[in-house]
Symmetry: D3
């Protein structure tokens, strides 16, 4: 089971101008074979199928808790795509062709199907597939797969980074380079323990130092590259069994386990697209319905809400 | 972001004997177009793409919090399949053909690819697809889709129930009938609010009373059919805006919002399959490595662990 | 545009007992690459894309009118599958497992998804694909494709025939062998005209005489193998330009063009499956609603209906 | 079975200039999950699988007759795409690169595979799938699906309309908005009858009045939005059982059932593309063959043809 | 470019009786994600895309020459499937249902599509996909992928081995365990050279000694596990740069490079299936045509043929 | 089995400037339904499944030896795509966006996944599928398929030729027009022998004379259109049984069988892309490792190498 917290792992701003072709490229990091849907679902399903999870707790806890972080990665990539697609329609009457420019965009379904919005696809508009999940039940093989998967994911992040200078996309990618690097290293360390093979010597893979990328370096300076988060109130207590010692592949500083989640940031509310209900869409009417529903909520609950708002202020 | 809790929503036992063809049928509820991967990902991605989430909080909170429950549903179905596949290999030397019986099983990849274990596929062995996610950005249309999706999911649960008398499968299906029914009703109520159309009158759809199914009735007696869980420590405070009043489609009793998650149950550890590393697999060696790693964990953490175990006891 | 006539091309009876694995095999003839969905859609889309249809009328008319017959072929195969799936559920309470036997059936989605019913899939449960349509815009190439498609389709019919002795399946296959043979020959003749290559000499392909198959021979005796139907009240007047002369590949008798459609037969109404709304499904209630709706229909129309019934009697 | 009539539902003209990227976008309305291939095949296969069609005649007749109209919708969208692709090749020698501009077009298979011509794909070039057909055998669920499908289809039409100002595309879309709206309303009314839920109150969905769109308004003025066509000489006599009363969702005027088909218009013959047989393609030779074949047709038939031409004049 | 030699890598006999379900399982080793089509195409396409192949000759030669061996592996698996499918049709008249038993077989397309024969599918009948090819252009990542691919392939071979006791299937699998093991080790050694990570310590993976499997042990006794073949008359001269030293993961004996190909064996001619042309198929007529064609071949060539036969004798 | 020769069938040069959209179009000739992956795999798998190959040697030898040539065709198309993608990244620091221009390219996976490099996809980025292989076991039907496949492949080559004036692409296409034409004619001749139908009269199909295309004409002048290569040191001795006589479809000159392979040309080494390991990629370090490995190779082998180099000089 999971608890959900309505925050992003990092703050993301709307880019200065719409970038639909950038959005199309970033889809690879969401729904491609090496995208975040793949990391989320690989670890999630491996944890569901794990055998002997008590006797193999250090390994189970690793896979199970990283699953939780990956949920937030999918969330970050999806928000990035949606921010890049913001304002792609002009607020004009449908007969004027408010989305005509998007006829040339690389992913037309962002507009026709998504409204506009992200899709569960790769950069060519092909759907994410359940077949991208590898779950063999052989511990060494699954760890080797996970190390390979993170290495491919890191490669794709570097390539998309080089294809776009969009600041929102790069902010997201820089952060995920660091976090993906932590996961890559943790699977390398797990493999080292179970096989005796010095996998961390393969890092960084691809062979690019994170501190060359300003958007990644920023997080290194806060030690994010050394920290594996537990993402659980009470469980996965054996992360330290594997995640300890020094980061020989980075700067040789001490690794650490972080309780809970990163602090994160609230997602900035996204405005309604003028194209969704156009022409003369009655969203105002729906806002009023929602406002009335909130006003009429049972009392006891309203109190909690007030407290909640104060805390957020 | 999410926190993960290492518990299942309900307890599941290993069935009296292996049931690989039952496992193949149950896959439809995991990776089919109307399976739990679809409910999880539809609500997850709709919540990631939600516009005006503050002004439309009652609707956003509904979709976002149900996402969290669906994670646990995928978990339940996956565990069920793995329990049905337990002991499908005989503990004999490979040359004897310990999995020969499985050559006739309906899903051969359960054994060749899964080891044995569940896959992210439907009952015909076809992968779950990102295209099963519908996220149009039109609130009414998305709610209508969700109501339709839950109705199809409920139909498929009833049909798989009628195809298997396996007690583990039926325990899981009975619970998900109730929980899926709550989600179906909550989308019906949301549609009622936003459109004025009396959707709850369509319930139950399909037209089967839950109390006819013993494995579902059991949860009705505990009021589970009236309760929508928040699945969040602090967020999604407006569930009550929509989920209140009486369940006219059921027994007319008062609806309620539950804080946190259901209590749930620990998953029973699954034993290693003799086929995974056979022949003469050194899992013992791996267990020893894991035991040593746990013993050598940094001190501060071991204390926490001890406390943890006491609490669990 | 089309008019629809609510009759099957031939009469089909329910087989003596359910045959779910036969139904799974017959799916190849509906949704396989060489199934009737492929013949229907190839000719339909080729006719939609046809250039210079007036100057090339003999060829256009051929492709366009065969399209219409193929609609009825899909209809026949679908009905066959549904008849083979009839009575696959026992009329018992869901808790008893009325569809338990179907857990072992080759196509589990016939039951979970179809209720039971046919699907737009091949014999392995894979969906029919738009990519099966070949429409190059090169007349010779398209005719060559169509000849090849019909040859593959005929081969698959012979193989499915040899895999089942189910009388309903064989009645349908026998008829389609004859009709598919007419289409195969008509594309061969069209190729002969346009290229001068004596394609009809390749017939029969595969090299099996239709009169060896009793279910096909029956239709030869009625001359069905010599007749190309126009399937249109006023259009496609140039079928005779290609479809004339003697059937050198068969018995050397004169070819003919039939106006309209074959006489056909009414489909026998299929009874509701007890599993669809079970348990305690209120289909009776729906029947009553339908009866009331029919009774309350505007008067002028009821008269027509009466006439209609008399004619049918 | 069907009869085919060689007319389009409405007249379509060649646009002033080629529009290959518009053609790529319009493909979504042909082969996308919510395109016309989906509406055609859903109703077609549901009608083939319908149980108790006599006792449930009002519902069967609805689904079965709308099938026939959808054939003509696929035809209209296909013709539109082909008109947008007309003249995309320059009449020059192959060595000059007569299709070089199309290297940048969004759907390269329009040219390489189609010659140029439409494909059975969506706007991203992915094939239409048999899995888009939903046919559960549960009447309420199937009607709910059909209402949802038409709502999604209508949404996509509005979005493609806003992405193109091409007059041919908009002429087609405007007409299909009206006709799709009739189908959407007819399923809403059927659901109202069978469940008592006031579904028509959800219309228009999406919330856009058709008379805001000039290309749609034109058909409202002719009452097309009130008329459900029977598309059959003798069958489907119970459409009036559901399709009667006033269009509360539109202008409150009386609904009506139209016999037969709309009058329609002849498709303008499309000229041969110079790229198809280039270089030095002998289409002239083929035209001569065709002319000879028509001249040599059996006499009795030529008479009919003459009559036919007079009637058309 | 390649030369083709009409021999199998090892001799294969027809099994004592038909084994269609075994054939279905073995398909995983041909067309599954980790099957031989994947190893062939991964190395083939990586070698086509290789950059700096002169400066990186030891690595290029490895990938390029292993490609050639994999062609022969696909050949072996295909022949195995075809041998398991031999005699699955009874030599009786079609009306008797000579393939009726196959209606229950797990892969119905083996019979309907293949005639019977192998297909380019996995064990669930899903097609091999070009997406199974990984070719990133990053040498370390591609080698890591190849090591992982061979490890997965080896795992699947062990599992299929445990699912069948069919001697033909096991003969093939035993040989491919050894040869796949050589490829796995060669990629491990290449990774060792380029990264300094002691990958061979991970072997055997999965942790099963080949000499436990009699069908594999037989080839170890001939030293096959130590030998990498060049599969080229003149090229790929740097295999020894990586493939030298002792096999620390096996028995510590010296590695060696074999010139050319293994000696191999002629494939036993497979007899015509009685179902292919049935009924009354004129294969005899085709044999006569072929005999005449061979007799009438130009003289100079017949001489060569004679010599060829003597050599083979 | 095969031997591999490290040469291309013809020389290919890098085009004057990068052409990523041309590369995307050329993918159709590699991974499309009618691309070279399809010709390679159809003939390869047909030869693996061939029955009675001794009695039907003229037909078996034809299919088996053409397989070998097709390997080289896939190689040529892949090299062409890679040459068109060369230099698509600017040698600048990643933060500058060295691949930003490629964000607009039609196939973004060429860069993100391929690095850049070709993929096993068609021109829309969809993977090649094992389902493109047709292997029915009916000799006439398989030959008819192969003739149709080559005709479609030739059509697509002509269309891609007309979409690009890139000299590298056209050099490759011109050669493959000739070689594909030889294969098309050889299947036509085989069909003539086995059925008596004068298939070669259909040539050229499409109706374009090869000598109109300068890049094809060049090879005709060398007689390439008359020559079928054996591609085997000792096998496939019966090609002459079918491939003899005069090329009535071309210029009436005598057909001939070529021993071995065409002479071919060495592939020009492709330089490392600056984007692959960027930033500050240590390829130099890898080159040094490779140089050391070559220097340290066992002596006996170094001698061979020297000889090898002399021969090449």
């Amino acid at each position: 089971m999971i608890f959900r917290v309505d925050r992003l792992q990092i703050a993301l701003d709307k880019p200065p101008k719409p970038d639909p072709d950038g959005a199309a490229a970033v889809q690879e990091l969401l729904g491609g074979r090496f995208g975040e849907m793949s990391t989320l679902n690989n670890y999630m399903h491996q944890s569901f199928a794990f055998r002997e999870k008590e006797r193999l707790a250090p390994f189970y806890d690793l896979v199970a808790s990283i699953t939780a972080e990956e949920f937030g990665h999918v969330e970050l990539v999806a928000h990035t795509i949606n921010l890049l697609l913001a304002d792609t329609a002009f607020p004009m009457h449908p007969t004027k062709g408010p989305m005509e420019a998007n006829k040339l965009a690389r992913n037309s379904q962002h507009f026709i199907v998504g409204g506009p919005g992200h899709l569960v696809q790769d950069s060519l508009g092909r759907p994410w597939l359940g077949d991208y999940v590898f779950c063999s039940g052989n511990l060494v093989l699954d760890l080797l797969h996970n190390f390979f998967l993170e290495s491919g994911a890191r490669t794709h992040k570097h390539r998309v980074y080089q294809m776009t200078t969009n600041p929102t996309a790069r902010t997201m990618i820089g952060y995920l380079m660091i976090r993906g690097g932590v996961h890559q290293a943790s699977y390398a360390k797990a493999l080292e323990e179970v096989t005796g093979v010095n996998m961390t010597k393969m890092l960084p893979l691809p062979n690019i130092k994170d501190d060359e990328i300003p958007e990644a370096k920023k997080w290194m300076e806060q030690g994010s590259h050394l920290r594996l988060y537990r993402f659980s109130p009470d469980d996965f207590r054996h992360l330290e069994a594997i995640w300890h010692g020094t980061a020989t592949w980075a700067d040789g500083v001490e690794l650490e386990v972080g309780e809970g989640t990163p602090e994160g940031a609230a997602a900035k509310p996204m405005a309604e697209s003028p194209t969704r209900f156009a022409p003369q869409y009655q969203t105002e009417e729906i806002y009023e319905i929602a406002a009335r529903l909130m006003k009429d909520m049972p009392k006891s609950e309203r109190k909690t809400l007030k407290r909640d708002r104060e805390r957020a202020a």
